[in-house]
């Protein structure tokens, strides 16, 4: 017998059915929405592309930390090893200090470019006396706990210097002495008002004759604001020692504050030397193989600026190109180097004089600063620019206007230029 359903049962069944339908609809809606989330995510990923989501390789010539083109695989491996050492920040336990300026090579050179005023280095001396007994030739104002940072003694000659860019130094190294000396004119024999002379420097004993810029006797200096350093090895060893407080086989004794009021043995817990010869060599090779950034596109205005650059004789010191000689790294050898410098000393007048001799350079002389890399310099300085040895110039125009001495005539010629020519010249220089 079929049981007859009463109206209450039908209502309950209908209610249950309605709830079931609602639940199914809700589940369907929720799953549809979730499917939509997944679909939208997939579409987003596909539309953006994997390369943007996974970073992209910067074009060649757009950074300061890229290797030279033409390096072989072994050299590229050395470059990687050196980059790691260059960026290595030392802890106190690893030997930082006891007195120092910064914690790594990379901490002074922004993106391997120039430094900023907050990490400027202070060099001092009394005449040609480096006053080692008073903490010379460089102030290390920072110190690990227990040590005492150095303070500037009274009555010394002071020179504040921004850390220079480190790219392209291998190419500078590869320019032969004879090429540099060809451009010398110490007595201004051609009477053009521009002299230019090499800074003859005796390298330290730890730089062997096999090393470029090494060996006995004076050699042509080419590194540093006054071309006071002849070799990358010396530059590397002294930067470790003076700037980071790291001892090496070449400089195994800690740099300490001779005027410290506290003397606590064992401040620096690391054994000396704190880096080995391999690390020093790695950093040196890394710097050697750093490529200069590529110059910008030569527009019509820049071509006009280039012509003005030549016409008002900026290029008398800022030589657009130098030729390298033989070098063990093939990529550095026998090529034109667009560094816009003769790497010689010039008298730049009282305004820029630090009145502190360095090697055979006097207090008014400075090495012609290379102009390469200016195109992207601001990108690594938070949009700012710090030019000249102490960063006092915040633009190329300011830097030109600070020139004096041998460059006074060129500065005056720049001032006399029509506005369009000045702008074209500045555009050209800032595109190098």
């Amino acid at each position: 017998m079929i049981k007859r359903q009463v109206p209450q049962d039908i209502g309950r069944i209908r209610s249950r059915a309605a709830h079931g339908v609602q639940a199914m609809r809700r589940a369907f809606r929720e799953r549809s929405l979730d499917a939509a989330i997944v679909a939208i995510c997939l579409i987003a990923v596909l539309s953006i592309g994997c390369s943007d989501l996974l970073t992209t390789k910067p074009p060649i010539g757009t950074r300061f930390d890229q290797p030279m083109e033409g390096l072989d695989n072994g050299e590229l491996g050395d470059f990687q090893d050196g980059q790691e050492q260059f960026r290595r920040a030392f802890s106190i336990a690893e030997g930082l200090g006891p007195i120092f300026n910064n914690v790594s090579c990379a901490s002074c050179h922004s993106g391997d470019g120039r430094g900023v005023p907050s990490n400027i280095l202070t060099r001092f001396s009394r005449g040609s006396d480096l006053v080692l007994g008073e903490g010379g030739p460089q102030i290390q104002d920072r110190a690990i706990p227990g040590a005492e940072g150095e303070r500037l003694p009274a009555g010394v000659d002071v020179s504040r210097r921004l850390p220079p860019p480190v790219f392209g130094v291998g190419l500078i190294e590869a320019v032969t002495d004879s090429t540099l000396l060809t451009n010398e004119d110490p007595g201004d024999s051609n009477a053009d008002g521009i002299s230019g002379r090499a800074n003859w420097v005796t390298p330290p004993a730890f730089v062997p004759a096999t090393e470029p810029g090494g060996g006995p006797g004076p050699r042509v200096g080419r590194f540093g604001r006054k071309a006071q350093v002849t070799s990358l090895l010396q530059q590397t060893v002294d930067a470790y020692h003076q700037d980071v407080g790291i001892t090496s086989p070449q400089r195994p004794a800690e740099n300490t504050n001779p005027l410290s009021s506290v003397v606590v043995p064992g401040l620096d817990p690391a054994n000396d030397p704190e880096v080995g010869g391999q690390e020093v060599n790695d950093v040196m090779q890394y710097m050697r193989m750093l490529a200069p950034p590529a110059p910008g596109e030569m527009t019509a205005r820049r071509a006009q600026g280039a012509a003005v650059f030549t016409a008002i004789r900026c290029g008398a010191c800022h030589l657009p190109s130098l030729r390298t000689g033989a070098h063990e790294i093939e990529a550095l050898a026998d090529r034109d180097v667009p560094l816009y410098s003769d790497l010689l000393l010039h008298d730049l007048g009282d305004g820029l004089a630090d009145n502190r001799p360095d090697g055979s350079a006097d207090g008014r002389e400075w090495r012609t600063a290379p102009l390469w890399g200016l195109r992207i310099a601001r990108e690594f300085l938070n949009g700012q620019l710090f030019l000249l040895h102490d960063g006092r110039a915040r633009s190329v125009e300011e830097a030109i206007l600070f020139h004096g001495g041998e460059a006074a005539a060129v500065r005056d010629a720049f001032n006399a230029l029509p506005a369009a020519d000045r702008e074209a010249l500045l555009d050209y220089v800032e595109s190098r």
Partner: protein, 397 residues
Amino acid sequence: MTGRAGLLKAIPRALVPLMVAAILGASPNWAAAATTRATPVADPFDPDRGGVAHGSEQGILWGGHGEIRLADDRVLGASDPEWFSIGRVNGFAGARLSAKWRLSGEGTWDRATDDFVLERAELTYRWKRSLQAHGGIFPAPLGRTNLRHDAPLNPLAEHSLVATQLIGVPNAMLGAGIRGVTRGAKPMSYEVDLVTGLSDGLLYESPGGTRLPFGRSNYGDNNGLPSIAARVAFHPRAGTEWGLAGQTGIYNETKIGGVTVDGNRWVHLLVADGVTRWFGLDLAAEAGVAFIDIPPGLIGLYAEDQWGASLEASRTLWDPLFGNWKSSALRVALRGDAVDLDRGLLGDSRHRVMASLNVHHRPYAIARFGWYYELRRDRFDNETPHAGVTFTAASYF
């Protein structure tokens, strides 16, 4: 720069549709399936850990968890594939010695901090749920992540930057204290400890600036003066917890070779954290700030202030993922986090977004298909973009 351009283009375009879709698609009714991560730590100090033990016999339990990682990490477009690595390995054991006494131990190696930490060697006396005394080595109560970070519970492959770079998860210390959880509909949990605190490793061992995780020292103190660590957390409703924690103490040793070389120097760390559920999303956030008294000779290079924060959202898409596999679930997770390792500088910071699609075998295991994009800024504020795709799998064993 390339990195900035990449970020501006890639991240907003990737995140906006994902976030909008996740929020619009969320439903209050769709909250039933969550991982244990969403469960508030009502009693985070229970020696039974809330995790999954492999074995249990006669009052003794044991187990562990591990994580493997396969990744293609990239920096400025240069690929650095890591085809297999261990992300995390952990082992733990606990013993119920009596009705009131418990003994527990735990050790972890974590890839993010690249360090092995004895997380727990702890003796607990439990008067009642609201009052327990404990001593030994135990995780400092510095936020929820440090108290509970079993690999299979994490919806993303890495802990947040605030956890790894500021708090130093896993951060365990030698000490003693009390803790407990109050009863009621809205319980409150607390912990107050005297611990060894951070050591001068945060300066001496850390390269390139102040790094608190390098000051973790869970075997002893280097200055004989304890630090105070405490946390209080409120649980206004199921699935929600708001916590506030802090630690303060001296970190340095003032003598070298018997000669006093420096005065006492303090480090203060404050952490706020929370988890809740909102429109079908499981949300978790953690923020921390640190103040470090730096010796005068290091000021300017070593940070005096640091901060970090993270916000994480996750949601179940399918539960179960397969009809006959009832414990399976498919979830998505997204996290944005940042840490500023020196507030005195424009740079020395890290910002990151991570996303992950996870297959769960609850509560034992998880497989994650992840992506991250991170901008690291050096002390000059130069950006270097890092990114990668990852596959990680974590399981209790």
